[in-house]
């Protein structure tokens, strides 16, 4: 079913590592899902179920071995690497599991980095980065490097970087795996706030703290889709 609200869609998606070799790993097998706009969609499953692989493909960071991925009507699997980079630049913000901040840069420089090829004035880049960091409660940490910040702070820098280009979709991979309970609470309120502002959010997690806030929960096991749950006013 492809509704008008569908932002991302996969058809028969598969991802095999070391295909046709004895050490072949089938990380995803024939996964077909739809992600609707302005919703929080959780991809859930135990370790090794293929959550990170699926979310990386949805975020245009990785390519599938088979199947198709569509962003609206555009087939991502048919795009060149350079076109995929533009998709990541303009339409998708990605929060990595281990944040992936550039270690030698300050918080604001990390946030502003995606803007370098498109916003030519450094002051403008810095203003945008600082505004986001302030919005996320990091106004006093803008000149600190990642080494000087806690896990929760690093994650907020990572969120700010993902948001700096005003993406349509925010994707987060295991966002609670490297932060404490208080930071998780803080993160949930940021995500809900962003959803309320109209952003589509996709996150992979097996942390049930997120489930009450999800509109849709996609369950994976051993790389296969085993169920989709919809939140119809209650909890998933």
């Amino acid at each position: 079913m492809n509704t008008n609200n569908t932002v991302l869609k996969t058809e028969g998606l598969s991802k095999y590592y070391n295909p046709e070799r004895p050490e072949e790993v089938r990380a995803l097998r024939d996964v077909s899902i739809e992600i609707n706009s302005r919703k929080i969609t959780i991809i859930s499953g135990p370790s090794g179920s293929g959550k990170t692989t699926l979310i990386s493909i949805l975020g245009a960071i990785d390519r599938p071995t088979g199947g198709h991925v569509f962003l609206h009507e555009e087939e991502l699997t048919a795009l060149s690497d350079e076109a995929l980079a533009l998709i990541r630049r303009n339409k998708i913000g990605f929060i990595f599991q281990d944040f992936n901040l550039l270690p030698r840069l300050s918080a604001w420089e990390n946030v502003a980095y995606p803007l370098i090829p498109i916003v030519y004035k450094e002051k403008e880049r810095k203003d945008r980065a600082v505004a986001l960091l302030e919005m996320l409660g990091l106004g006093k940490r803008i000149n600190h490097t990642s080494e000087e910040m806690s896990g929760g702070e690093q994650q907020r820098v990572s969120i700010a970087r993902a948001l700096v280009n005003n993406p349509e979709i925010l994707i987060a991979d295991e966002p609670s795996s490297n932060i404490d309970a208080k930071a998780i609470e803080n993160l949930i309120s940021i995500l809900v706030d962003l959803k309320n502002k109209g952003m589509t959010i996709v996150l992979s997690t097996h942390d049930d703290a997120f489930y009450p806030y999800a509109d849709v929960k996609i369950n994976l096991k051993d790389g296969a889709l085993i169920g989709i749950e919809h939140n119809n006013g209650g909890k998933i």
Partner: protein, 387 residues
Amino acid sequence: MLERHLNFLKVASENIIRYKGRSIVVVLCLVAILLPFITAIAISQGVKSQSLLSVEEGADIYLTYDQYGKNSAVPLSFIKEAQGIEGILKVVPRVIGRSFIGNYLTVVAGMPTDALPPSLSLEKGRIFKEENEVIIGASLARALNLDIGHSFTLDINKSRILKVSGIFSSKSSIWSADLVFASFNDAAEIFRMPGQASDLLVYTRPGYNARIAEVLSALHEGDKTQPIIRVQTKDLVRQYFNKGFTMKEGIFTALYTVAIAIAIPALLVVSGFGMGERRREIGIIKAIGWQTSEIIEVVFIENLLLSLTAAPMALLISFIWIKLFNGFLIAQFFIAEIGILPAFPVPARYMPLPLFLSFAFALVLTMVGSMYSTWRSAVTSPAVTMK
């Protein structure tokens, strides 16, 4: 559009500072590779320039006899024969030979005072006047601790005690360094060549050179009792020098290019310094929306900046080494038999082409060392490179 590239320029400069360790290693490697090249070519150019200066100051035609294919002495009686030829202004006899003073090899030249090179300038004393008086090069004086009024003998003829009447320096330091000038007669007696000259210096009217050379060459033609005359014009000598030096520099540059090509694998390893971190960062940058071409541009600019730093640095070190330390240690590799600390000012000229070449070398090396690995990292899926 320009602002975009200026942005990348800024990022590249900041990267060079951020990756201090890597940048310093690359620049030092480049300097180590470029320094001998720049120095060798500068010394070669310096020697060439001084050689040509000597040629310009010299006679229009050099005349010797040819014996068994080698230069041999000319009888002074030949001067009269030559002087009658139209266009010849003067013919000056010269004796030139080599002799040790103890362990020190010197060149002894005997000629009339009015034929001495114009660039020669007396630092001390006066030109030789009396019998057995000589003038000596400043570096020879320093090396042998000789001063005005001091006496010495040449190993080739110890019976003649020579007296220093003057100490000179010359623009052509390399040729005048170990030189002893004496009167023609004294030199002829030192080398036991009475009535003969090593060669004749022929000065001609402008435009007559080639024709006179032909006439002189033909003087003994048909007379089998007379030796063959060997004539070398200034143009020919100039050509020999130019050809010789150009060939030497060309061979050196070619050998250096081969050496650099061989050194590239080593540099690849060196430039891999910090590459693991770099690869991961390229993955992150790619994942947040940078395109491969943008990453390549930044790395290209980084290499350009590193090369632009390394080439002038190598030039500066070479310059200081030659000018301030007179090529201590290094000059002996490029000028034979001058020792660790040269006794005369080592000639060196820094010309634009070799400098440009050294910059190009640096750029090629850094490009080869980094562009492929950067491109490989940039076209690999960020999911893989970020791991």
